[in-house]
Symmetry: C2
Subunit: 453 residues, 2 copies
């Protein structure tokens, strides 16, 4: 069996290893158009900050290691065309400019995505996206060499807010500008506003509902000003974090099912075409609460489906019901997390839902050093099933989502959570754990709201 | 409806409030033999240490507050006899020595438990159990006044190990002596030994398999030496934490079902006698994994059943399937937690089980400042259902049990956990969360072990 894999970052490389493990006889070639492989993109903010000192720490597997492990890896090799009928790729070797054709029995598309860019900043120096290791190094080098004083981050999603921390810790005066009415729009506003209130209270500059219109460069071509519909901002560094577009242009019009550029797949990474698999930032992934494939370009998802592709190709399909939009965020001392669906998604999906947002403490009330810990539960009214959860607080808050991840996965109800046996010790929680408290409030609220029925 | 409640700490007081809430017309009288009510016993170690400075912080509700809330509370009133047929209590007022009879429609037994004591230390000064607020104050005062230098803690359960921290932080040279072959025997030894190794490595003195035989006092009656089957220990302070015995002697032989002194109850605190409820340290509680009532004298359990009694008395029985032996421990910088059943319990119950214990990290491998984080999963071989889990590590480790609590509650399998969508951010976990990793190893191990079948 001859397997070709396009892309050697999270999805492609994980798939290649999983195929090898489950099909030791498979001949696997990986084509990677860049020079870097297997990097942990989620670590970029800490690498730019200098907290992670060496680039090599971000690399899970080196090219040498991959080759030692029996995988044929070709860097600077771009796949420029695919013929799904003939099962052939057209590959360009960027070192020699040679173009050649290679045939496959099985194909894995792990082609990733590219950062969306605003036309306003085109070809301007000092303006970066953060999509790959080369970008991370470019930003890091620019900051070290040019010592920028004022930055604008365009886009207030997870990546933008993480980079607000990074630049602030590097003593760069930073302005976040978000086009939408709220930052971190995957969360409900009542939850994201808890973080925004803290950040603004500490002097961080976060503008929402503001649109970047234009930018000005100095005579050397370096960005100097960012012009929005509400003001002009001086900036000698601009980071664009406004979203991703799958690198699938070369695959269009060839019979591969896609939705807004992202490849449609089954739970196991199978596409609509036989012998063609896809995973990672170029593909949709099934969300078992949304009950449809969604675009969630995250490292966790790339790794999971990458591994499942290797199993599926060997005829093994372990029970997997999809993902559920879980996300973790840490910015300065704050932690925020979510799983399942939010109120606004429940509304969009036409669910008969309600929710509670409770303020509790992260330690027993009498134990010193505690802080506020917020839990929001979104539940289905007639069944009490917990559809989603969001949490916010300081140290330790983020991972408190894990009990809710498993609960949402299992379809547990607010009644289940109200009495769940979480254990107790004063330095870590309360005798009624915060999740018990939130669920108990939801039970009481739901009883009231359904009394009239 | 006239309700009598015996005991005003966790179970009794929670029940009284829950009855009042669900039956506003109920006339409720609470008899409490001591002078203290509603104290958080789990906070005693931190109160003795001085971290919690004021006694009042440990009191959730004062006597005044309870009375304001419409509950009749009588302190120093000991119930000395019960006639379940006549539905009458005989009560002794310890202030006036008066004895009187009071009748009930409904009775709640929240009589608690007393510390087991060794005969060796009888009537010796400087020797304490830690069972109630008076004990906590006695220990605190003794340490402040007598300034003991060397302590022996008899019993290496959760309380004994928490007190090892307390006394160590008070600069008292402390020796733990445990009769059983291992401390923290609710955990499997491969997990508890992770903590023991760290504690011993830091110079803490923990002896196991050692039996206290005798003790010697000085001429003033203060403890001076503890004599075991293996040595003689100088000590001017001894804490006994060897277990509890329900305060149910006065209830024996009256038709109330008990098991080794603990009252048998339903999920909602109902006893075998009509109109008689029990909860807290005097009662058993149903464990849905052990599939039987067990003795787990914990504040969480007292509060849960206390609340459920109030609902059940009003004819409401919310879905509740019992507890699952969850426990949290924090000692110095270490955190340990468990839920469900351990290997040794699975063996005792005759389960077809296996387990994995994995060493992971609490942060992404490339993120600085991480530490080791251990996850043990015990699962049923033929179904893959996770029966129990144990975790050990440093900061944040303990609450990582919460995802496993919900998983065990819901009967999820190792396959479910292997791909569960926990979210990811480098400072908090890894792209494959530690729980994914442990479950993935269990899946691989289980596939191998069932291949021959």
């Amino acid at each position: 069996m001859k397997v070709l894999v396009i892309g050697a970052v999270a999805a492609g490389l994980t798939a290649a290893y999983s195929i090898k493990k489950n099909n030791p006889e498979a001949k696997i070639t990986i084509y990677e158009k860049g020079k870097d492989i297997s990097y942990g993109a989620c670590g970029f903010p800490y690498y730019i900050e200098g907290l992670i000192e060496e680039e090599r720490k971000l690399i899970a597997k080196t090219s040498e290691r991959v080759k030692e492990d029996g995988l044929r890896l070709l860097l600077a090799h771009e796949v420029v065309d695919v013929d799904f009928d003939k099962k052939e790729l057209t590959v360009k070797n960027h070192k020699t400019q040679e173009i050649f054709v290679d045939a496959y029995d099985e194909l894995v598309l792990g082609v990733g995505a590219s950062a969306l860019r605003l036309p306003a900043f085109q070809k301007m120096k000092g303006v970066f996206a953060l999509n790959n290791l080369a970008d991370a190094n470019a930003i890091k080098n620019y900051i070290e060499e040019m010592k920028p004083q004022k930055a604008v981050i365009v886009g207030g999603g997870n990546k933008g807010i993480e980079l607000l921390e990074t630049l602030t810790l590097l003593a760069i005066d930073t302005q976040v500008i978000e086009f939408m009415p709220h930052i971190l729009s995957i969360y409900d506003e009542d939850v994201s506003s808890l973080l925004v209130r803290e950040l603004r209270g500490e002097g961080h500059k976060i503008n929402t509902g503001e649109k970047v219109l234009d930018a000005k460069a100095n005579e050397k071509g370096f960005v100097e000003k960012v012009i929005t519909d509400q003001g002009i901002y001086e900036a000698d560094l601009v980071l664009e974090t406004i979203g991703l577009r799958p690198n699938t242009a070369f695959l269009e019009g060839k019979g591969l099912d896609m939705e807004r550029g992202a490849i449609k797949t089954t739970l196991y990474g199978e596409t609509n075409l036989p012998h063609v698999y896809a995973a990672g930032d170029c593909a949709l992934i099934y969300d078992h609460l949304m009950e449809k494939p969604v675009y969630l370009p995250l490292g966790t998802n790339a790794n999971k489906v990458g591994k499942l592709i290797g199993l599926a190709m060997a005829g093994k399909k372990p029970p997997f019901k999809g993902v559920q939009g879980s996300a973790l965020l840490k910015v300065f001392e704050y932690e925020m997390a979510m799983t399942g669906i939010t109120d606004k998604e429940a509304k969009r999906l036409g669910k008969d839902y309600d929710s509670v947002l409770v303020r509790t403490r992260n330690k027993s009330g009498y134990y010193p050093g505690g802080s506020e810990f917020f839990v929001k539960l979104t539940y289905e009214k007639h069944t009490g099933v917990v559809l989603g959860a969001q949490v916010f607080g300081k140290e330790g808050a983020g991972l408190r989502i894990q009990g809710l991840v498993a609960s949402v996965y299992a379809g547990l109800t607010i009644e289940d959570l109200a009495y769940m046996d979480f254990g107790y010790i004063p330095p870590l929680n309360s005798v009624w754990d915060s999740i018990n408290v939130a669920a108990g409030k939801a039970v009481a609220q739901n009883a009231l709201s359904t009394e009239d029925i």
